[in-house]
């Protein structure tokens, strides 16, 4: 059973939903960038994006009144958005096996 969003939580629901996707994409972008350009600050920025994503997921969970098995969605978003860019990065490296700038930088 679902509990509709309360009137006063409309804005926070829209905002946190949008922020989940934006923060997820920022984390993915910064994570990938930190691999191409191994810079500590970029890596920190990536983790800050992920922290924003976690806060947004928590906000959405509360505003959209997730309960019972609906909490699985929150859990999947928190875990999935963390590991998806890592998995996709490994796929990129594997599918571009003989092209090299990345390998060279990773070796350094």
């Amino acid at each position: 059973m679902i509990e509709p969003v309360a009137l006063e939580d409309f804005f926070i629901t829209f905002f946190s939903s949008a922020l989940i996707i934006l923060a997820g994409a920022s984390y993915a972008l910064l994570f990938a960038w930190s691999k191409v350009n191994p810079n500590f600050r970029i890596k920190i920025a990536a983790y800050i994006s992920y922290a924003i994503l976690i806060i947004s997921v928590a906000e959405l969970t509360q505003a959209a009144q997730f309960q019972g098995y609906w909490l699985i969605i929150s859990f999947v978003m928190a875990i999935g958005y963390f590991f998806a860019p890592i998995g996709i990065w490994h796929l990129c490296v594997k599918t571009h096996a003989d092209q090299d700038l990345i390998k060279i930088k990773e070796d350094i």
Binding site: I2, F14, A18, A25, Q65, Y69, Q99
Partner: protein
């Protein structure tokens, strides 16, 4: 009729014909496009592109008329009613995108298969039949706006189903045209060589033609009816079209940036798996409120949360590629529109979709201008952009593979067209978002979806202002479109430098 009268009519008709022919010849001399640069297959493709551009104009024109009627409800009342304008606006969009996709596939078919198109004559006949049918359907929409709902109206006037209103005879025609297209694709690959792109394309076309059949039969129960209707609307758009765009994009990445085939094909398989994995059951978000069992709330909510993952994958891959390749390319407008596709798809489908897709909030937002806001950005971002990129690829070859990269003459035109079209659509999206927010708040949440609530929301100042801004940004989109057409007709004219051949890395 007396002989003198009929002679006069004949003479006038002949004069009009001659004048039109002279104007057409003058136009041809002005654009200086040389079809000898194109193979027969590509000549067929540019026919599809030409009609796509005309229908794109129809989409914008009827959209503007409908937008005006939101502000001045009496405008063209009982002459060209809002429901007709809205219907043609949406139908024109669906059909111009289909024309664009078919054109794009015909464009690369010979190149990809290494063989001439097998049923070229059949393909040309199908093109004229399709174009004639679309013209006839639109004329009937305009000339027969009101009438009884009989079996004959269903067959010859309007099927009455939102977004797929084409009468039954046209439905059958569309399936026949797609089957001819399917035959041409399969037979050409069979004659030449198959590839990963060819395999994905073939399977996708089976789904494209097959799913359309789900919109061609009626059921007496409205829930059952809507259940199948969404198979066409959602599964076409969020599964088969997305895959078709993936195929088109894969080929264009090889030709524009020289990305290796092995990489492109591997990623095409990954994207298809992600799209189908999340998109097919993402269908559930349309089943929330049509009377289907409650489990669809969970299925739709869960898979809708997964739908942005392919878009996030795209972000990672783009950064990976940007880090490993120095982008060098001889067709800047096409590349710019492909980049616009990546952003438009991410924002329109990803962010605008997820903002209102979970049932806890969708109970208030579905069917409001919020959906229209999402629809405008997602369709433009995901599909219009890739078609426009292909128009630029086609025009470059039509002019004999001329240089369209840095330092091209009048490059401001394509840049302004890109800016105005994207800015216009984004502006409309934000205006509709404001209107949708107000509607879901006042009409749905506060007033409980009553008629009174509907009118209160429609007359609220924020809704009215939003509609004004939507019209303004619609006009901006039209300006961008006019500039786009001007640019497509003139870009590369007089250019003597050749574009470099792009080879796989």
């Amino acid at each position: 009729m007396n002989t003198t009268g009929s002679n006069g009519v004949m003479q006038n008709a002949a004069a009009v014909y001659e004048k039109s022919r002279a104007s057409f010849n003058n136009f041809k001399a002005w654009v200086q496009l040389d079809s000898t640069h194109l193979s027969d297959g590509r000549q067929l493709a540019v026919k599809y592109f030409t009609v796509a551009v005309i229908l794109f104009f129809a989409q914008i024109l009827f959209g503007l008329l409908a937008a005006t009627q939101f502000i001045f409800p009496g405008f063209l009342y009982e002459i060209l009613d809002f429901n007709v304008n809205r219907m043609i606006h949406i139908n024109a969009m669906i059909v111009w995108m289909l024309f664009g996709f078919i054109g794009s596939v015909y464009w690369f078919l010979e190149d990809e298969s290494g063989a001439e198109i097998v049923g070229l004559k059949l393909g040309n006949i199908a093109f004229w039949v399709f174009t004639g049918a679309v013209t006839l359907v639109v004329l009937v929409y305009l000339l027969v706006q009101i009438g009884p709902g009989k079996d004959s109206s269903l067959w010859f006037i309007n099927e009455g189903r939102e977004y797929i209103e084409a009468p039954r005879w046209a439905d059958i025609g569309i399936v026949v045209v797609i089957l001819i297209f399917f035959y041409n694709v399969v037979a050409t690959f069979s004659k030449g060589k198959w590839s990963g792109i060819a395999g994905v394309l073939t399977l996708d076309l089976v789904a494209l033609a097959g799913l359309y059949l789900a919109g061609m039969f009626y059921m007496t129960n409205i829930t059952h009816e809507q259940y199948w209707w969404w198979w066409v609307i959602h599964l076409w758009v969020e599964a088969t079209w997305e895959v078709l765009v993936g195929v088109i994009m894969a080929w264009s990445l090889m030709k524009l940036l020289g990305v290796r085939r092995k990489i492109v094909q591997t990623w095409l398989y990954i994207e298809v798996a992600l799209m189908f994995g999340s998109g097919i059951l993402g269908l559930g978000h349309h089943y929330f409120w049509i009377g289907t069992p409650e489990y669809w709330l969970t299925v739709g909510g869960f898979f809708s949360a997964l739908e942005p993952i392919p878009l996030v994958a795209m972000v990672v891959h783009a950064v990976y590629d940007a880090g490993t390749h120095a982008f060098k390319n001889g067709n800047h407008p096409a590349l710019a529109w492909i980049i616009a596709q990546a952003f438009g798809n991410f924002f329109g489908a990803g962010i605008w979709g997820f903002m209102h897709t979970l049932p806890q909030i969708n109970i208030f937002t579905h069917g409001t201008q919020w959906s229209a806001s999402h629809g405008h950005l997602a369709f433009f971002g995901a599909y219009a952009t890739i078609n426009i990129a292909f128009f630029y690829l086609a025009i470059q070859q039509w002019r004999g593979n001329v240089w369209m990269g840095g330092g091209s003459q009048n490059a401001w035109r394509w840049k302004w067209a890109l800016g105005l079209l994207n800015g216009g659509v984004l502006g409309m999206t934000i205006a509709l978002l404001i209107a949708g927010y107000e509607q879901s708040f006042i009409e749905r949440a506060v007033e409980g979806s009553t008629w009174g609530g509907y009118f209160t929301a429609q007359n609220h100042p924020s809704f009215q202002h939003a509609m004004g801004w939507r019209l303004f940004f619609g006009c901006m989109t039209l300006t961008g479109f006019i500039l786009l057409v001007w640019d497509l007709l003139t870009i590369g004219k007089g250019e003597t430098r050749k574009a470099p051949a792009i080879i796989e890395n």
